[in-house]
Structure formats: C-alpha cells, structure tokens
C-alpha cells in the first residue's frame, strides 16, 4: 500500500520538515476531532492552502495528505450520521452497522499507521507514495520550474 519512490530532486532539510508537518497536522487534528471527522480535513486543508505555493516536494505531500483525509472523511461521516440516527432517531441497530463500523475502524487504523510512517520518512527527505492517493496526487500536482 505504501511505495518508496525516487523524487525528481533531493529535497532540502527545510522542505522535508514542512512536508512531514502536513502529515503530523492530520494526526494532531485526528486526536482533537475524533468524533467529528470534518475537523482533520479542515486542518489539513488549511495547511494545504498555506503551502500550496511552496516547493514541489512540500506541495506534493500536502496534497497527498489532503486527499487521504478527504477519502477518510467520506467513510467516517457516513458512519457518524448512521450512529446519530441509531441513538436519536430510532433507527434499528443491525449487523451491517457493526460491519461498517469495524471496516471504517480498520481503514482508520491503517490510515493512522501510514500517516505516522509518511511523517517519519518524509522528515528524512524520502519520497513515499500511498496506494491510489499517490498516483492521484501525481495527476494533479505537477513540478514547477523552480523544482527542475
């Protein structure tokens, strides 16, 4: 699910730190905003906005962090509102609900571990791409002239 790849250039110490921070941002927000999944997305989004004019390496990793958070938001939100409906609106509780809950929890744990791994490796200046979100970022995030 995670691939170590070569980046077009060797990022500087400062870039590696900023790129690593984009993942840390979503981790910190995850702790703060656990019941409301939108909070980590908002935090990552603002970090992305702040760095969207940064160097290629920083931009690339901010975008990947944003995409992976957006993916999680969709599945977490659905689970969140399903839970609210059960608690407050007499929705019947079913086996499917638990199946969905555990699926989402497993995906969240995987995402959590990958995010820690990404934060650590990008801090070392290595370029790492997540499954699906990496290639998606490659489609959108193109190198600028300064990165060549």
């Amino acid at each position: 699910m995670i691939q170590n790849l070569n980046f077009p250039y060797k990022p500087s110490e400062h870039e590696a730190e900023k790129a690593s921070n984009s993942y840390l941002m979503s981790l910190v927000a995850l702790v703060a905003g656990l019941p409301l999944p939108i909070i980590n997305l908002i935090a990552t989004f603002f970090f992305f906005i702040a760095n969207r004019k940064g160097t290629y390496f920083v931009r690339w990793h901010c975008t990947q962090a944003l995409f992976s958070q957006a993916g999680l938001l969709c599945m977490n939100s659905f689970g969140f509102w399903w839970t609210i409906d059960i608690i407050f609106y007499n929705y019947p509780i079913s086996g499917s609900y638990f199946a969905y809950l555990f699926t989402v929890i497993l995906f969240n744990i995987t995402e959590f571990i990958s995010t820690i791994y990404l934060a650590v490796t990008t801090r070392k200046g290595k370029h790492v791409e997540l499954w699906f979100f990496g290639p998606l970022t490659n489609l959108i995030c193109k190198p600028d002239a300064s990165a060549q």
Binding site: M75, I84, I86, I87, F88, Y89, N90, P92, I93, S94, G95, S96, Y97, F98, A99, Y100, F102, T103, L106, F107, W131, F132, P135, L136, N138, L139
Partner: protein, 267 residues
Amino acid sequence: MHQLNKVIIQGIVLLALFFGLFFGLSQIDFIKVFHIKQTKLNTASKLGDVLWKQVEESEIIIHNDTLQKTLDSLISPILEANDIPKDSIHLHLVENSQVNAFAMPNNHLVVYTGLIKDCKKQEALQAVLGHEIAHIRKNHVMQKLSKEIGLSVLLSASGGNGALIREILKTLSSSAYDRALEKEADLTAVDYLMKANINPKPMADFMYQLAQKDVMPDGFGWISTHPESEDRAQYILSYVKGKKIGNKQMLSSKGWETFKERIAEED
C-alpha cells in the same frame, strides 16, 4: 494516460477492498455476538417514557373513557387517512387550564383541557392535533431537544435525572420550535386534514383567535409558544387557496358542545 489508468485501477482495488471487508464482516451476526437488546440503545423511547412518568407525577391525567373515546374519534380519521398506525401515537388528556398541546419523544402527545375549551370548532382541535402529529412524524421533537439541550445531556437524562427531566419537559411544553419547523408542521397538518376530508380553514380561524390573545403574558402555552399567529393564519389560508376542501365532521355540533361541557366539568 498511464497515470490516469493507475489511479482508476488502484481506486477500484481500494473500493473492492473496502466493500469486500464490509461484506465479509456483514456475515458475522454482531447483534448476537454483543448480546444487544434493541431497546437499550433507543434513547428517544427511553427519554419519552421518563418524561411521561414526570408528567404523570406532576399533572392530573384524565382517565375518563368517554372523553378519551371522543378524543380518539377526532384523531382517528387523520391517522387513518395518512397511513399513520393508530398505536404509534400515545394521546393523553391532561387537566390544565392552559391553552396548550405538545409532543414528547416516543410519540407521546399531550393535550390540555384548556385547549379543548378554547377551540370553537372541532376542526381547530383536529388541526392542533395534526400539527403535533407532524412534529412527531417529522422527528422535530428530538431535533429540537438535541439542538437546545444537547446530545450528551439527553443521553444522561434518559437515565433519569429529576431536575434535567423537568427542564426538558419545560422546553417541550413551553417553547416553540424553529420557525421553519413550525411552518412545516402547520402545512403538514393542513395536508393531513385535507387528506382526511376535514376542513383546514378553522385552523386559520383559531390562529386569528390566538393572535387576539397574543398580548396576554402567561398561562396560554400554545399562544405564547407559537408567535406570529396572524402570519401563520395567512400562510395557511394561502396554502389551501384553490384546493379542494372536504367538510367531514366526526362529531355533530351537539356532540362537540357536549364534549366541551364534559371537559369543563373535569376542570
């Protein structure tokens, strides 16, 4: 193009993994594994029952079969015409001079005798009942409570916290819903009445009647909690304009007057 293909293939694999895992886990009967009983997680019904107990303790409930039957005969055509199961609404008659009726969680509907006495026509009472049924059916009750009291507090209240229960009851019986929710309940009530071939116009008359009393400060629950009665009367009238209106009456004029007299005797 190569990148795009990679994204699509990996996206499909990721989705397949998600749904595969979900489908796989769905095969496990978690309800049995966790020994879950449906009622334990049903906050609305627990809260409704706790609140109803509080009403029973603090108010005088009328257990007169004749009056209850008459009240049932007024509400039944509305429920039948709108495919609402009869046993899904728990209608209670309470001796209280306030002009008030309110809905509580778990489909409890409380009607004060003061309201019945103040209704000149049976259709006006049916309209108020329709309005409260609309609040119940559209889930307004729990929406209002979760907004005003808070989700976490409600959860703890269903355990039975006396002061909190009284506070929730006060919120339900003497404060209005959002204006949008009130309007939705009004218009839904009109729809309910029209489906049951009951004339909704007396509902507007009742609103005008309330508007005249709007100046009164206390003791008129449905008036003080439902502001802008005149506006409401107007949008109800414009909503029914041009629509086919029935004129079905459940009680004869004499029957309605007798019912009101008996209600007055109970007071």
